[in-house]
């Protein structure tokens, strides 16, 4: 017996029995629901989309078939979307319906649980970045970068209009940034890389009094660890520009603390924790120093007290937000990525500092070791720079598209950057297959 939900002709998630519906219609004095609608005939629609109703089992089976069309490849892919092993307990706890089916905490008294979880998430980011404020999420790293650039326009509005970003920036980040700043006075310019990290001399030439924002990534999009972040921060500081560092929480647990090299804002992809590979879905990390408190985009959870003087949490400083401030809000964001933030915090607390640093250390050692194995092959050079690497690195071959196609036939996915360059990302999820990847590269390039 599958109950009313098995019937056809209505929504399986509208619980009304026929008798209840009749009684409600009767109470309202109408014969059917259609009478309640005030839609002029000229724009009325007949309800025929041509989509048949299906039972749950059929939908699940159909979708299983659909996803089974995806080729089963071992992915050595990164470039901004990273996944590490997520323990089952994170799936289990985050899927509790009390978390999953709630919404923004407009009534703090009845949503203390999620508020505390978000406060804890903010706190973890504060520790990782060394900055004193972290919001409870942006959509992804691209949106976080774009919002950071707009922040610079608000807090240093008199000192310039140029946003400086690396020439080698993930297309999705650059493209999103370009769109977000299109309505402001900002223009985006690039500074060159040398050996896959910032060319400091060229950057020094590029920064001037019109610069309002300097963005640097570590690790960079090709996995290189920026060797002298502090020098970039100094250049920004000398010209009164905001210094923004892009990273992720795993890298931040090992690499220099951004605040200690002068970062005013840290952005990045916090979904590196807690989120499995999800076709690009992300979690935008946004942290900044205290002086920008009133200009922060997005939601903030703060500590307060309740009427019994017990500790309580609440959304705070909401006068920055669109539902209060409308066109003068710091951002238009409303719905964010809170549930992903919950998962990231759970994953971080599961790992603890030892586990986090250990994971990060593996990202360094495994990248170096796989690069060395590839470099030992004839006709293969890896990495293509003298930097230290985090998770990923570039690989030089004669015919990159051809090699990638050969690897795909052998069950591996890698990035193709250009005719002669591949990129390989090594994490705890694929490191056990790294020897097989190296053997396959040897076979394909032989």
């Amino acid at each position: 017996m599958s109950g009313r939900s098995a019937g056809t002709g209505g929504s399986p998630f509208a619980p009304h029995t026929a008798d209840e519906t009749a009684a409600m219609l009767d109470a309202l004095g109408v014969d059917d629901e259609a009478e309640l609608f005030d839609i002029p005939e000229a724009v009325a629609f007949d309800g025929e989309f041509g989509i048949p109703q299906r039972d749950e089992r059929t939908v699940r089976a159909d979708l299983r078939d659909t996803f089974a069309r995806n080729d089963d490849l071992t992915e050595f892919l990164g470039r901004g979307h990273y996944s590490h092993y997520v323990p089952a307990v994170v799936d289990d706890l985050s899927s509790r319906s009390e978390f999953l089916t709630s919404y923004t905490q407009y009534q703090p008294e009845i949503t203390q649980g999620f508020l505390q979880a978000l406060f804890e998430y903010q706190s973890i980011l504060v520790e990782l970045t060394g900055l004193s404020i972290a919001n409870c999420s942006m959509y992804d790293a691209a949106a976080a970068l774009a919002e950071a650039a707009l922040l610079s326009d608000r807090v240093r509005s008199t000192s310039g209009s140029t946003v400086l970003v690396p020439e080698d920036l993930r297309d999705g980040k650059r493209g999103t940034l370009d769109n977000y700043v299109d309505g402001s006075d900002l223009t985006v310019e690039t500074y060159p890389y040398a050996d896959n990290t910032a060319d400091l001399d060229a950057l020094a030439d590029a920064v001037d009094e019109d610069t309002t924002f300097v963005y640097a990534e570590t690790p960079t999009v090709t996995g290189a660890i920026e060797p002298d972040l502090a020098a970039i921060g100094d250049l920004a500081d000398e010209h009164d520009a905001l210094f923004c560092v892009g990273s992720d929480p795993v890298a931040l647990s090992l690499l220099e603390e951004p605040a200690s090299v002068g970062a005013d804002v840290v952005v990045g992809e916090a979904g590196a924790l807690g989120l499995p590979a999800s076709y690009g879905m992300g979690l935008g990390l946004f942290a900044c120093s205290e002086e920008f408190l009133r200009q922060v985009p997005g939601r903030l959870v703060g500590k307060s007290e309740d009427a019994d003087d017990r500790r309580a949490f609440t959304l705070t400083l909401q006068t920055r937000e669109q539902h209060i401030r409308k066109e003068r809000a710091t951002s238009n964001i409303c719905t964010n990525q809170a549930w992903v933030a919950l998962r990231a915090a759970m994953h971080a607390a599961y790992l603890g500092p030892d586990g986090l640093v250990g994971l990060a250390e593996d990202c360094v050692r495994d990248a170096a070791s796989v690069a060395a194995s590839l470099d030992a092959l004839d006709g293969v050079e890896a990495p293509l720079d003298d930097r230290h690497h985090f998770r990923e690195f570039t690989v030089g071959v004669d015919d990159a598209p051809g090699v990638a196609a050969g690897l795909e036939e052998r069950g591996f996915a890698v990035h193709v950057l250009d005719d002669e360059t591949l990129q390989v990302c090594v994490t705890d999820l694929n490191v056990d297959a790294a020897d097989d990847l190296v053997a396959a590269v040897a076979e394909v390039t032989a």
Binding site: L63, S102, Q105, Q112
Partner: protein, 527 residues
């Protein structure tokens, strides 16, 4: 209804923070493969064993309200039940792939995305859809950016976006983000757009009118055709805010009303879980003339498979390589939404990504909130035509039935899926706090401003008759309480009334800040 929310902890606080359970400091540089100057000196974070972690988060979950716990009638938020099967579908390991995969190796993902593009186009009466925007506000931004690109492409000099005063705050913020001046339109006496005021506001500077229909008090804009003509005649575009689409499913389509651009809040209309604030997804649909400006990439049937001669019959799928025959600018009128929709993709259909000819570029780092999009697609397939039509029927029936039970005035009508009751001479926020003690979540309060002390209520189709009666009882009991009683409320929730002023005046936004505050007070008392 008797209700007491879980409360852990002591007289000082609830469940301790992670940092109060464990705090371990270490030197990450020690023994690192990296040189000392590249590593941080210290890291201090909590680390919990799995049993401790499970208990911590289970307790936090018990201190949190949710749709599965009870009514959650937040107006304009469409807090529907989120069916479990959609979660199960989204957890398919075969769907867990990296966004940079060669499209030929992720045909399953592309099949789903293409299918969802088609479903949404049909449901909204639009010609082309992008799934990239990760939330409703991001959809608004995408839509307005598309409008801007369209106007710039055609040399139309536009500077203003018109928005009714009763619109969602995101509309105003979005228009400002896109660099437009906001022209706020006062509501008419009947709660709808004042057509005369609109006529006065529309000019050659009008880039777009952003409209929610039914509007934020649930009223259908009866003059929509006239409104559309007025905006189009001035060379402007009509933007549909999809927050209230649940009211119209199967009964009216924005495209048929003359809208050129719309966003869909799939987490609302198509029942994906709101996750404590997100993620959502905000796909954007447009008419043919605007399709070339959508974000890149979109998904289409593979050229070789669908069309041997390399010409695409559907102009919305023309890309930068095609011979351009984009519309020649000027006003958009009467578009044809005969879409040739097919429900079932054959297993051997092949799909590819393409960049629209004049794409605005990217609005998300990759392709949006994938796990949300999967659920929406599964939900639409589950409901089908009949289910979608019944969703709007029962959502509207529920709102009307609930309103009929309230001892409160509902100033405007006839409303659809939501209504704004007025608390009259009572403070709506206080009434909401009173309702918390009855085992329900209160509605959205004090908004929209056109209704004094508004309680914007959207029960959705998932409540049954009895549940609505319980909900009505909570409204009626709370609004009948004395001021003293309301000021003392709530008493049965994890926290009693939370001091918002203290939180904002003295921001403590991390456990680090608590430590500092505590140390400061200890120092003060030690002196």
């Amino acid at each position: 209804m008797n209700y007491d929310q879980a409360r852990y902890g002591d007289d000082e606080r609830n469940e301790p923070l992670l940092s109060e359970k464990d705090s371990t400091a270490l030197d990450p540089g020690e023994g690192s493969a990296l040189p000392d100057d590249l590593t941080r000196d210290s890291l201090e974070l909590p680390g919990l064993s799995e049993p401790e972690l499970a208990r911590h988060y289970t307790r936090l979950s018990q201190m949190n309200w949710s749709v599965e716990a009870g009514p959650y009638p937040l107006g304009s938020c469409t807090m529907k039940y989120n069916p479990s099967f959609a979660d199960a579908v989204a957890a398919d390991p075969n769907a867990a792939v990296h966004p940079d995969r060669d499209p030929e190796t992720v045909q399953g993902n592309l099949e789903l995305l293409h299918g969802l593009q088609e479903y949404l186009a049909t449901i909204g009466g639009m010609d082309a859809v992008t799934l990239q925007p990760p939330a409703g506000a991001a959809g608004e931004f995408t839509g307005i950016a598309v409008a801007k690109a369209y106007h710039e492409h055609h040399g139309n000099d536009k500077s203003e976006v018109i928005i009714p005063a009763s619109a969602h705050g995101t509309n105003f913020a979005t228009a400002a983000m896109a660099g437009y001046d906001v022209v706020e339109l006062p509501s008419g006496e009947d709660g709808r757009v004042d057509v005369e005021a609109l006529e006065a506001a529309v000019s050659e500077d009008t880039a777009a009118l952003m409209l929610t229909n039914p509007n934020t008090v649930g009223l259908f804009e009866r003059d929509i055709t006239e409104i559309a003509d007025m905006v189009h005649d001035a060379g402007g575009l009509l933007y549909y805010d999809g927050a209230n689409l649940n009211a119209l499913l199967g009964r009216a389509r924005p495209g048929d009303m003359g809208f050129d651009i719309m966003h869909y809040n799939v987490h609302k209309t198509f029942a994906t879980p709101h996750g404590g604030g997100g993620p959502g997804a905000g796909p954007v649909g447009v008419v043919d003339e605007l399709a070339p400006f959508l974000p890149r990439p979109r998904v289409r049937e593979a050229r070789s498979a669908s069309n041997g001669d390399g010409e695409r019959s559907d102009p919305s799928e023309r890309d930068a390589d095609d011979t351009a025959t984009a519309a020649d600018g000027g006003a958009l009128t009467g578009h044809d939404h005969d879409h040739g929709h097919t429900d079932d993709a054959a297993q051997d259909d092949e799909y590819e990504l393409f960049d629209p000819e004049h794409s605005i570029g990217k609005v998300h780092g990759f392709s949006g909130n994938w796990l949300v999009l999967i659920r929406a697609y599964a939900y639409i397939r589950r409901l089908g035509d009949e289910g979608l039509l019944d969703a709007s029927a029962k959502a509207t029936l529920n709102a009307n039935y609930l309103a009929s039970l309230l001892d409160m005035e509902v100033p405007y009508g006839p409303f659809h899926h939501e209504f704004a009751a007025t608390a009259g001479d009572r403070d709506a926020a206080d009434v909401a706090k009173g309702m918390l003690d009855y085992g329900v979540h209160p509605p959205t309060t004090k908004w929209p401003e056109m209704v004094p002390e508004a309680m914007l209520t959207e029960p959705t189709e998932v409540e049954n008759k009895r549940s609505l009666e319980d909900l009505a009882n909570a409204f009626n009991e709370a609004v009948a309480d004395t001021d003293e009683e309301l000021h003392a409320a709530p008493t049965k929730t994890t926290a009693r009334r939370v001091d918002q002023t203290s939180a904002a005046r003295n921001p403590r936004l991390s456990w680090h800040a608590l430590g500092e505050a505590q140390r400061a007070s200890e120092n003060a008392s030690g002196e």
